[in-house]
């Protein structure tokens, strides 16, 4: 009887559509310092400072009052800039319908919801962090984000973007699960001369993420 149950169970298992397992990204991670070389020769590459702006956007950046930098008034700085900041600490919380990304530096990073079961909204108010949807390509989580407002900057030098900003982020866990590889490509045909990509590596931590309110920059 037990054998029959096992046989039927196996047949049901074979007949059922299988959802391919996706890597478990849950955890707390911190970006490794520039200059760190990981096994395989992997290292951080590129920087928001190196983006190439269209002439008008370059003029605009030079005229910006750097005292009004969103970073300096405890506002969100947007994923493109935040993920490149030294020592950025994130927590990834995957649940069935989304992956939530939380930042220890909550005021500058806030929380991002990456929706896995829908496409972009046809109509949505632009927001600071945009509308993020994700899909798995093998072991890589690909996040596509549009719908940004124009309040954040692309770098510390005052580079602006428009609501046409489009980010594509690719996140994968490296073998062994101790590091994440994070690649982001930004395109904005109204301000960027060409799409720009940078790479950062994040180390998995076993510490708890703490509160880090933006109190020191008032």
């Amino acid at each position: 009887m037990t054998g029959l149950v096992q046989f039927l169970s196996m047949m049901i298992s074979i007949a059922s559509p299988q959802t391919p397992a996706v890597p478990d990204l849950q955890g707390v991670y911190q970006s490794v310092p520039d200059g760190t070389t990981l096994p395989g020769g992997l290292k951080n590459a590129g920087s928001p400072a190196a983006i190439e702006l269209l002439p008008e956007a370059a003029r605009q950046a030079k005229s910006m009052d750097l005292r009004k930098d969103p970073w300096k008034v405890c506002q969100p700085v947007g994923p493109f800039r935040m993920m490149a900041k030294p020592q950025t600490k994130i927590e990834l919380v995957p649940v069935s319908s989304m992956v939530v990304m939380l930042f220890e530096d909550l005021s500058h990073g806030m929380m991002r919801s990456v929706y896995l079961k829908r496409g972009h909204k046809a109509k949505a108010e632009p927001t600071w962090l945009g509308d993020s949807v994700g899909r798995w390509e093998g072991n890589t989580l690909v996040i596509d984000t549009i719908g940004f407002n124009d309040q954040t900057w692309l770098n510390d030098e005052g580079a602006q973007h428009t609501d046409a900003l489009h980010l594509v982020e690719r996140i994968r866990s490296l073998p062994g699960g101790q590091y994440l590889e994070y690649k982001v490509t930004a395109e904005d045909p109204k301000t960027l001369a060409k799409p720009y990509t940078y790479t950062r590596y994040y180390k998995k931590l076993d510490t708890e993420i703490m509160d880090d309110p933006c109190e020191d920059q008032q």
Partner: protein
């Protein structure tokens, strides 16, 4: 020796925390992951449930439990100048979830994460299922939370608060000894999350007080909207400067 052991045990055993058994795995428990918002009287009509000590009565409940010094501190507190939430800094978890709360409840391996709608001020809570409280937790706005499943109820124990937040909007103070005990369960066939909240603080309260809140589970298609507290830096600066001026004026009077 036996007497010493008994004393040691009595000192160690608190209301919930030290009795918890570990580890527990949130993914093996019922999955309550979802988006919840404070239930209105209309939501609860006909269910037999109601907000226990609704917001307009909660201040009275808390004030009735304050020790004299805490009541005096409350009366000396300026509702604007001293309210960190006014300048988009954290104001703790005692206030917002009761007043107008909405949150994501996210269950993952070893912990449950609550992300509040007003993320700048109420922030994020992580309720650990796989560890006890640290012996000397660093005091924080939201404290250190651990939880365990007791049948269909999730019991949460939180200690390690700083003393900067208020127990509710009436400026009721607490100390670092504040201890929050919550019992969470789904009711009405999973439509509502019921949270029974008990607060004790031997240095600020004469005794513990308890009330309940109900949060309605939102449809799966509902999404918690982005909420940036400090959207307008000029308004924020004006608030901050007015608050600082009030604090300065008060310091001069005291001097």
């Amino acid at each position: 020796m036996k007497k010493m052991l008994l004393v040691a045990l009595l000192l160690r055993v608190g209301p919930i925390g030290p009795q918890l058994a570990f580890p527990q795995n949130a993914r093996e428990a019922p999955d309550w992951t979802g988006y919840y918002a404070l239930a209105t009287a209309r939501d609860l009509a006909g269910t037999g449930f109601k907000q226990d000590f609704p917001n307009e009565e909660l201040n009275s409940l808390i004030i009735a439990h304050l020790q004299p010094w805490a009541k005096a501190r409350m009366e000396a507190t300026d509702g604007i100048a001293d309210d960190t939430g006014q300048v988009c800094l954290p104001d703790g978890i005692f206030r917002y979830p009761s007043m107008a709360g909405r949150f994501l409840w996210l269950q993952e391996r070893g912990r449950i994460v609550m992300v509040f709608g007003l993320v700048n001020t109420a922030g994020v809570r992580r309720i650990y299922l796989d560890r006890p409280h640290p012996k000397n937790p660093l005091p924080t706005w939201n404290g250190h939370s651990i939880g365990r499943w007791e049948g269909d109820t999730f019991a949460v124990d939180t200690v390690g608060f700083n003393d900067k937040s208020w127990l509710f909007g009436g400026m009721e103070p607490h100390t670092e000894e504040a201890h929050l005990i919550e019992r969470v369960r789904l009711v009405a066939n999973g439509v509502f999350m019921e949270i029974s909240i008990t607060v004790e603080d031997r240095h600020a309260l004469t005794s513990a007080y308890t009330y309940k809140r109900y949060y309605k589970k939102q449809p799966d298609t509902a999404e918690m909207p982005e909420n940036v507290c400090n959207e307008d830096p000029e308004t924020w600066k004006a608030f901050r400067n007015a608050a600082l001026k009030k604090q300065l004026d008060r310091a001069k009077v005291v001097k």
